[in-house]
Symmetry: C2
Subunit: 319 residues, 2 copies
């Protein structure tokens, strides 16, 4: 059983866990909502519970796992196992020794890493990026995150590389949730898109987005709600998705002009849902800005789906 590893993808809305075998297959999994109240202790307890549930599905105790990896938001220190400033999690403005806490609860070694970087590595080793030696992972969801693989190795810079969502696509442009202006995420992040939809609805723009949200009892405009709205021909939804594709195509092309990678892997909640459907407009927008336009990079939708983050987290164990 020593070759089974655990992976936990800690997100702002859900905790996804997986037990992964030596060839990367998922042999157990569980999902729980992320606590919205309390603090890091409560989140860690829920993570441990979700990891136990996945292990049960795989027929093992957590203590039998070779280790557990965690893909975390905020500032995750791989050396110390401490996670700081995870601002989309309850009461996590400071630092919390997540790895130590989970080790105690699970009875096995625990490592933490950056959520987007581990998801990029999962796609590189086991998913849509397997055939490439260099790629940019673009995770289009609540925000727009990115991860880099260069010459077969993760490129972390001084620890914060990959912030493709905060590359500027329009100087002086839309306000970004990060407080700056004109970032890719200001146009394409789900949070920013929802804020813009609300603003335009208030100004009298007709849309069914919020009616659909209420009808399906969602607390926010999920990727599923955006898809339904597009299917209904909702003009505002179409406009805001076009705008997101403009920003994604521009920012990704800028990144490729700088790095000239072989591939771009598009993941994240919106990326996985809309990747195939919007691949044509996305690559067309990219083509407008690519400096070496006769050999664009391969653009692929992430292959590991929602489980990519947890699978990638499990890869931290073998380090």
């Amino acid at each position: 059983m020593a070759e089974l590893r655990g992976g936990i993808d800690l997100g702002g809305t859900k905790i996804q866990t997986a037990v992964v075998d030596a060839v990367g297959d998922v042999v157990g999994q569980a999902r729980r909502p992320t606590p919205t109240r309390g603090g890091p202790e409560d989140v860690a307890a829920e993570m441990a519970e979700a990891m136990r549930e996945a292990s049960e599905g795989a027929g093992v105790e957590t203590s039998e796992l070779a280790g557990v990896g965690v893909g975390s938001p905020g500032d995750a220190d791989e050396q110390t196992g401490v996670v700081s400033s995870a601002r989309n999690l309850p009461g996590w403005e400071g630092s919390f020794p997540l790895a130590a806490k989970l080790k105690q609860a699970l009875g096995t070694e625990v490592k933490v890493g950056n959520d987007v970087q581990v998801a990029t590595e999962a796609e590189f080793h086991l998913g849509a990026g397997r055939e490439f030696q260099s790629l940019i992972g673009v995770f289009w969801g609540t925000g727009v995150g990115g991860g880099l693989i260069l010459d077969g190795e993760p490129w972390l810079g001084r620890g914060a590389a990959g912030e493709i969502g905060h590359m500027v696509v329009k100087h002086g442009g839309a306000k970004c949730p990060c407080g700056r202006r004109g970032c890719l995420e200001a146009y394409a992040g789900r949070l920013a898109m929802e804020a813009e939809a609300r603003r335009q609805e208030k100004e009298g723009q007709k849309t069914d987005l919020f009616k659909l949200m209420e009808k399906h009892e969602k607390p926010r405009l999920t990727s599923g709600i955006w898809e339904r709205a597009l299917d209904h021909g909702d003009k505002l939804a179409e406009h805001l998705i076009d705008r997101a594709i403009m920003a994604l195509g521009t920012g990704i092309a800028s990144a490729v002009n700088l790095l000239d990678t072989e591939a771009v892997i598009l993941g994240g909640g919106l990326g996985i849902r809309f990747g195939e459907r919007l691949m044509d407009p996305l690559t067309k927008e990219m083509a407008k800005h690519l400096f070496v336009d006769e050999r664009p990079p391969a653009v692929r939708v992430a292959a590991l789906g929602d489980l990519g983050g947890a699978i990638g987290a499990s890869l931290l164990v073998s380090r």
Copy 2:
């Protein structure tokens, strides 16, 4: 004498050569205007002559050099020594076996490489980037070129990495000499700045830029002319330099958000002339867009000046 190497920086307006010793010191140098007529054969003949002149200054025959490196515009193939599509050189739309031709003329091995990349490597090994392991070289001149050093090694991507000048800073913005819109170079490249100055003068904007150009018998708005105009308080010159700094700060910050390098080295004709003078507004503009703004990268002006390209080219020999 085997430790002496030659370097040739082949530019659109001048050919700069240098003889460099084992510790990187320049022991001979020469400069000639790049032929504006004829074809690659004529350019190669002039390069050989300039290399002989530098060697004479160092007291050696070119055949005594350990080798000669060439930093070339266009598409320079390090493996074959062929340079293609060097569109700012006369009659060089096609391919020309530059290394083979120069080897014949100089009696020593010749290697070719990309001009901007070798200048970046020169700054990394011998200039302003010596203390860093990762940096972005930004060459602000006729165009805006870039080179990358990551983890102490050049990053070339699929051969065309580093095109920071064609990162988009303003979607739908100014027309770039490359034909696309909103590129960094569309605002900061000398060619684009001169075109914009002419356009605004035609529209009635007052400026001394072109009078200064004529007075100093320059065929174009050189970096020296821009400097004189700024010193005179020329409003249009100030406006266009501000615009260039806006674009440079935005594009460089985007690149740092993606790569999180330790340093940025600013070179090129305009970069060397204005780097210190405009360092403050440049870093202020960058700060607006840096995602991790509490620890910006070091920003340094290139230390090897005009000779950086030729010194960097000489480093090709030791590969």
